[in-house]
Amino acid sequence: MSDTAVHSQEPQLLEVSIGPQHPSTHGVFRMNVVLDGETIVKLKPVMGYLHRNHEQLAENMSYLASMPYTDRLDYICSMTNNFAYAMAVEKLAGIDVPERAQYIRVLMAELTRLINHTLLVGFLLNDLGAFFTPTLYAFREREKILDFFEATAGSRMMCNYFRFGGVKADLPAGGMEQVKEIVKNYSRFLDEFERLLTSNEILRSRCQNVGILSKELAVNASITGPILRASGVNYDIRKVDKYSIYDRFEFKVPLGKVGDVYDRYYVRILEMRESIKILQQLLKQMPEKGEILSAKGAAAAKSPRMWKPPAGDAYGRIESPKGELGFYLVSDGSPKPYRYHVRPPSFINITILEDMCLGQKVADAIVILGSVDIVLGEVDR
């Protein structure tokens, strides 16, 4: 069934293209669905509508110049994209990161995880039909965190805040109070969100036993992130690789049992509570003063287009809110990377979208796509 032509094969099968412009495909993602009545017989995703040739551009720019481009990969969590790219280049060039910068990095990563999971729950309820109310509550909380990002990094969504070997600038004057305020109120907001949603019978009946993903298929299809943990596989790169300073915080990894849409929704709520625990411990352990850019980092940032990392290749990966986000860099000693490849979690997590949707209704396919949490900037790069 080719992508462009949409025609029906057997008489009673209805071939519908839930096309690039659709209220709940989270961007320009298309699914060619063959329906028998309301149940799905075949589902082929079509991508590439937002392929912005990120890798070709990065191979023709200096290393630092493609840092602002990583903000636009997964445009909901720009800080974690920067984090992954900075770690990959630091592994390639062997740059160390000072103490306070590590704490600032983990602070930003966990705040971004809160934003991503809250927005996901909001958009999932949007797909279920709740008329924007959970989404607006999610955006109301997101605005508070964005104010803090704007105060430190300079832009609400496109932070461009990480540098190789640290961060661009220290927290602003009132920064710490702002973070304390956010962390204090966030668990109260989560309780309100859970009261609104978790015990809602309609949400439960719409999400339970829908789009079940078995453990073996999840591991075989290289699924990562909350979806994998909702199926019961205990694999969280913060615990496996213990990158940056995540080994200094003790937090749990919530696992689901059944692996359906409801588990994916609730595992993300529990992960948000774990992130709040990490943030509370971080606020206590964070050193007051300290340098935020190591000596080698400052040398790299002095004139980016002249800075040449040693030749070789490196693969850096982190636990982004959507799964394992990795950067594979090959450097031939010139200021431009020879090969720059992004391993996006959303792109690989939709490999088994068809397996989850077969036999379900059209409405379920939309909800399953919502629970897989894809962002098209990252899928199509």
């Binding site: 096309g19 320009v28 551009l57 023709n60 445009y75 002249m306 199509d380």
Partner: protein, 258 residues
């Protein structure tokens, strides 16, 4: 038959509200613009943030994001329009009923923005559909989108019913949908109303910027077998592109248009 301001104010003081039919139509269209639920990339998230509690586009009567193009009258092109997506955008524009407006939000929709040097990115949506308001920024703040909406409302206020394209019979509002070609879209832009800017000097074109093997339009065919510009760089740090001094000597393609 415009009403002169003085008379109008005088009458309003006495509580008599006089308006032309044209103003009533414009007021109606201005204060209830229903945007199409159509987001492409990062600017779409900022568009949703504008529709949310803190910036509240509902105050302007524009919060009903209509999923179907038939009921929408404003298309906010928010995000990068790639060549694979351009035909869909033009087809959506054709499906919208006539008094329709387009806001191209963000650098990508205006000019391809940071991604414009790619093989799959359209250098701005106004190559295929007429755009009313351009909002620069990457992504523009929600207030900038509201400011753009206010400017669009001013533009609607100044419109005259009989001169508007939508209501004239002879002007067909069907814009040709580009086809997928071997390397890009055919036609590359809609010649009726878009002429690519050529006054931007040659220096900043893709040739000497980054793409090692970009073949500039008028350049003579490269001698076969000669090393590709990008490939000479494995040796010393000969920085990609032409050193400024060498360029300063060569006169720019055309005097920087004032």
């Amino acid at each position: 038959m415009a009403i002169d301001e003085g008379l109008n104010n005088e009458l309003q003081k006495r509580g008599i509200f006089v308006t032309t039919l044209n103003d009533l139509y414009n007021w109606g269209r201005r204060s209830s613009i229903w945007p199409l639920q159509f987001g492409l990339a990062c600017c779409a998230i900022e568009m949703i943030a504008t529709a949310c509690a803190k910036y509240d586009i509902a105050r302007f009567g524009a919060e009903l994001f209509r999923p179907s193009p038939r009921q929408a009258d404003l298309m906010i092109v928010a995000g990068t329009v790639t060549k694979k997506m351009a035909p869909m955008v033009v087809r959506l524009y054709n499906q919208m009923p006539e008094p329709k407006y387009v806001i191209s939000m963000g650098a990508c929709a205006i000019s391809g923005g940071p991604f414009r040097d790619g093989y799959n990115v359209l250098k701005g949506i106004d190559r295929y559909i007429p755009v009313d308001v351009h909002i620069p920024g990457c992504p523009p703040r929600p207030e900038a989108l509201l400011d753009g909406l206010i400017k669009l409302q001013k533009k609607i206020d100044s419109q005259k019913i009989d001169q508007m394209d939508g209501y004239r019979e002879e002007k067909s509002c069907e814009y040709p949908v580009p086809q997928y070609g071997k390397k890009g879209l055919e036609p590359r832009h809609n010649p009726d109303f878009f002429t690519p800017r050529l006054d931007w000097p040659e220096k900043n074109t893709k040739d000497n910027l980054r793409m090692p093997n970009y073949k500039p339009a008028p350049a003579p065919a490269r001698a076969a077998g000669s090393p590709l510009p990008g490939q000479a760089a494995t040796g010393g740090p000969s920085e990609q592109g032409v050193a400024p001094a060498q360029l300063a000597a060569q006169p720019p393609a055309s005097e920087q248009g004032q």
